[in-house]
């Protein structure tokens, strides 16, 4: 399945775009996605940390991704 990944802040700079499409296996997890993204964009590994959100909620590494999920990469936040 093809999943669209939204990017914000520094991840937008790393991806060179505000979203990228990634090919994932049908039962892929958040940690599978992180691995693939880190292969493609090694600069992700230099971040202090980053999270993945699914449908506007922080997701856990073991969570499964579904085809129509809204997935976003959340680099370290710095609001306020």
């Amino acid at each position: 399945m093809k999943v669209n990944i939204l990017a914000f802040g520094i991840t937008k700079d790393i991806f060179g775009s505000s979203s990228v499409a990634i090919d994932l296996a049908n039962d892929a997890t958040i940690s599978n996605l992180k691995y693939l993204l880190e292969q493609e964009y090694p600069k992700l590994k230099q971040l202090a940390t980053y999270m993945v959100a699914a449908n506007n909620e922080y997701a856990l590494d073991g969570d499964t991704i579904h085809e129509r999920d809204e997935i976003a990469i959340i680099p370290p936040v710095s609001g306020g």
């Binding site: 914000f8 971040l47 959100a53 506007n56 680099p75 370290p76 936040v77 710095s78 609001g79």
Partner: protein, 139 residues
Amino acid sequence: MNTQIKLSVSTLNINDCVDWVMSPEVGGIDVFIGTVRNITKGRSVLRLEFEAYEKMAVKEMEKIALQAFDKWPVQKILIHHRTGVLQVGEIPVIIAVSAAHRDAAFEACRYIIDTLKQTVPIWKKEFFEDGEVWVAAHP
């Protein structure tokens, strides 16, 4: 409604925020106003830019407000946050909390700003004379 959460591209108004949390039952209002500082680690800051993952940011701010209502007897909670470019001295965030008694208002207000800085998907870029940096991105 006893909660008002807003992301805004235009100037935040302190008086409007205080007015919104005012009500006859409250005995005190606590307000936190974030401002753009002109220096970071010895470097002069020219301006800041804030970007938000808007839907999720609003959702996370709503969660924080609910948590604060659970923890303290407060009447009303307002959280307004800016997006876009802000100059030195401008206001990126206002948090206003009203309560019957001041302890609850102080503690809830502190909790809200501290938690917002940890969990709400909003990002700040600092612009210096010789470059720009996404705050907190790298260790």
